[in-house]
């Protein structure tokens, strides 16, 4: 295995992480755009995504089917879990996030942290054997009977991982199209950029907020599903770190900017992967290094990679 192929393998692994981080970060960025809140419960929404889809897999009996039924059910499970978690996201937004977002900014931060703790603990307490690591079935392997991976000069590209990555990228592209091409998407962007002006133009802000939380939470659910497929194990507290990383990625990209969040997610993942690989004892320090990069970014580009330099409104 040459050093180039190690490098390429690491880049591929980084991309696998990056797509998950990006999907979480997009939520942070969207919510900040429309409500000016950092929703720290978002990481736990991601966790809910994984648990809801696991439940659906069991309920639908997906594992016992095969052929076209299997594919159909698999897609159904993904879409259903996105809808359910998206709905939960809207629910939490209505009862917690929006009410507290009217108060001082930092209040909402603590309230959403509290919400996150409550969601996490609720799963631990009320999901059957919730405090254990749960096995998440390898659903995609069944789609590729026979061989599992392409092996190219020592690099292993698993079919299921490639599919996850492809789906992730397609979703990201669809999101970009939605935001740029549809009326609702454009309105979300308008609200994110200037809520005051948008509401003067007769935009129903509450509807926009609901839609945004639905999309953000559904994307987090998808990320949770992917996370389950990728690691084959999920646990109730997986959202805590994911939330912090997602927030960091959103900040690196520039809060409120969706493309920035995607770039930020990939960047964070790449920094982690590369520092674990290239720096001696890097694996112990990779999160530290990633955070150091975050700090450097904030210092030298305070508004993120794609954030616009804002003139203070005086």
């Amino acid at each position: 295995m040459s050093s180039t192929s190690i490098f390429l393998q690491i880049i591929f692994n980084g991309a696998m992480l990056g797509i998950q981080y990006s999907l979480i970060a997009v939520g942070f960025s969207l919510f900040f755009g429309v409500l000016d809140v950092i929703n720290f419960a978002h990481g736990d929404i991601f966790m809910l995504g994984a648990f809801v889809s696991l439940t659906l897999i069991n309920v639908t009996g997906l594992l016992n089917t095969s052929g076209a039924t299997y594919v159909f059910l698999l897609i159904l499970v993904i879409i259903l879990s996105m809808i359910i978690v998206g709905g939960l996201g809207v629910f939490f937004e209505r009862i917690v996030v929006k009410p507290v977002s009217k108060g001082p900014t930092l209040m909402s931060l603590v309230a959403t942290l509290g919400l996150g703790i409550a969601i996490r603990e609720a799963v631990r307490l009320f999901y059957p054997r919730g405090s254990e690591t749960k096995r998440f079935p390898e659903l995609l392997v069944k789609l590729f009977p026979g061989k599992e991976a392409i092996e190219f000069k020592g690099i292993i590209l698993r079919y299921d991982n490639l599919l996850i990555l492809a789906v992730g990228i397609i979703v990201v592209i669809l999101l970009a199209l939605y935001i740029n091409k549809t009326k609702m998407g454009l309105t979300i962007r308008a609200v994110a950029q200037d809520a005051e002006a948008a509401s003067m133009m007769g935009v129903n802000k509450n509807l926009i907020i609901d839609v945004t939380f639905f999309i953000g939470s559904a994307l987090a659910a998808l990320a949770g599903f992917m996370n389950g497929l990728y690691y084959n194990s999920i646990i109730f507290d997986m959202g805590a770190m994911a939330g912090i990383v997602g927030f960091s990625a959103a900040v690196i990209g520039g809060l409120g900017n969706i493309y920035g969040a995607i770039v930020g997610g990939f960047l964070f993942a790449m920094v982690e992967s590369l520092s674990a690989a290239l720096i001696p004892r890097g694996s112990e320090f990779m999160t530290v290094i990633a955070f150091a990069v975050v700090i450097l970014f904030l210092v030298f580009r305070p508004s993120g990679i794609l954030g616009e330099r804002a003139y203070e409104r005086v």
């Binding site: 900040f32 950092i38 009862i95 917690v96 009410p99 507290v100 009217k102 108060g103 001082p104 900014t105 930092l106 209040m107 931060l109 603590v110 309230a111 942290l113 509290g114 919400l115 996150g116 703790i117 409550a118 969601i119 996490r120 603990e121 609720a122 307490l125 912090i244 927030f247 960091s248 900040v251 809060l255 004892r281 112990e284 320090f285 999160t287 530290v288 955070f291 150091a292 975050v294 700090i295 904030l298 210092v299 305070p302 203070e312 005086v314």
Partner: protein
């Protein structure tokens, strides 16, 4: 006549405080979950009574604020005699004393953060890390150089304060959520660094840190039949008293006013001639000092510190104390610290559900009282200013 009514007022204050004091002691005493629930219901009842008898309640508050110094004095005396009374009533009195000491330490950290976050609007999610810097500094100085706590405690504070200077550039260039993220990352980095640096013990931390020993008086000495934690109780009480005194004075000064302006409207503060960056840096360093002092005391008292003591979860607790207490309100911070540190110990009875309830409690409190339990009140500077302004009006 006038003298008599003043005397009566004093009696009232003493009575109310004694009643509250014993209620608190009983609350510490009870172990059964049902009585805990009863106590909570009682607290809710008192809350509603205060709504119904609004006028009378206000009169009571008025009474306390008029004789503020007297009220504080009485409270102080009650706190001094606490160690002697508590063993008579509470079964696990030493344990509760430890919890109270820790509450005191948390109040100290929270006051430091309150100065940064509550007064100036600077989010600091690395409080536990600065607290840890104080603890490690004191621990290392005491262990390796054998210095006395008289030196290590203030040096622990200074170390934490100067560690804040590492963030000088981020403080200058970022604010709001961005600064929050920088401090969060900083906290993570420090804990991970402590975990990986062998000279300071790595994950094993520092063991056998000598107890506080001032002028030959070893704090492990037991006072009569009282446990040695009593020494630390008084130490923390004294330092906490000084801390509260300092922050109360700062609140009622130009510093408090300037900070509040930076918090509420940065451009306007700039327009008033305030060098915001410099002010923020001073506030950050000053607040960190108290976190470091708190850490140093903790290190000497427990004698063992390790990186997990200073993790993000601790910082979150401190932030929650400040925000639930009502930003920029010292009394609010104290009340919230008691609520968030002492109260969960009572919830231990419901073990499994404790953290869940804690999360719900945070959310519900903030929805019901989005500005915290006790939002800040008007800045009065001094009673003479108040009098002067009243005269100017009539």
């Amino acid at each position: 006549m006038k003298k008599e009514s003043k005397f009566l007022d004093y009696i009232k204050i003493i009575l109310v405080e004694i009643v509250a004091f014993f209620l608190f002691l009983f609350f510490l005493k009870i172990e059964s979950i049902w009585i805990v629930i009863a106590a909570i219901l009682l607290a809710i009842l008192i809350y509603f009574l205060s709504k119904i008898y609004k006028e009378k309640f206000r009169a009571l508050i008025e009474l306390f604020s008029r004789y503020q110094n007297f009220a504080i004095g009485v409270l102080f005396i009650l706190l001094i005699i606490y160690p002697f009374i508590s063993p008579l009533i509470i079964t696990h009195s030493t344990y509760w004393m430890l919890i109270l000491i820790q509450t005191g330490i948390y109040i100290m950290i929270a006051l430091g953060l309150n100065f940064q976050l509550g007064s100036t609007g600077m989010m600091n999610l690395a409080t536990a890390a600065f607290y840890g810097i104080g603890a490690y500094t004191a621990g290392l100085l005491a262990l390796k150089l054998g210095w006395t706590a008289l030196l290590t405690i203030p040096l622990g504070g200074l170390a934490a304060a100067f560690a804040g200077l590492l963030l000088v550039i981020p403080i200058y260039r970022t604010k709001g959520h961005y600064l929050a993220l920088v401090t969060l990352a900083f906290g993570f980095m420090l804990v991970l660094a402590a975990d990986n640096i062998e000279i300071i013990g790595g994950p094993q931390g520092l063991k056998n840190i000598p107890p506080v020993n001032i002028f030959g008086y070893n704090f492990l000495t037991e006072i009569g039949s009282l446990h040695f934690y009593t020494n630390y109780y008084y130490l923390v009480l004294a330092i906490l008293g000084i801390t509260i005194f300092i922050f109360a004075r700062l609140f009622n000064s130009w510093i408090g006013l300037t900070s509040a302006y930076i918090r509420d409207d940065e451009p306007a503060a700039k327009g008033c001639g305030i060098n915001i960056n410099l002010r923020k840096l001073l506030v950050f360093v000053f607040g960190n000092f108290f976190m470091g002092v708190a850490g140093a005391i903790y290190a000497h008292m427990i004698g063992f510190i390790s990186p997990p003591n200073f993790q993000f979860a601790q910082s979150l607790l401190i932030v929650a104390i400040v925000i639930i207490g009502g930003m920029d309100n010292i009394l609010g911070v104290i009340v919230a610290a008691i609520l968030l540190v002492v109260f969960p110990e009572k919830l231990r009875v419901v073990t499994e559900y404790r953290i869940f309830l804690y999360g719900i409690l945070l959310v519900v409190t903030l929805i019901l009282r989005p500005r915290g339990i006790l939002p800040f009140g008007p800045r009065k500077y001094d009673s003479s200013i108040l009098k002067f302004a009243r005269k100017g009006g009539s």
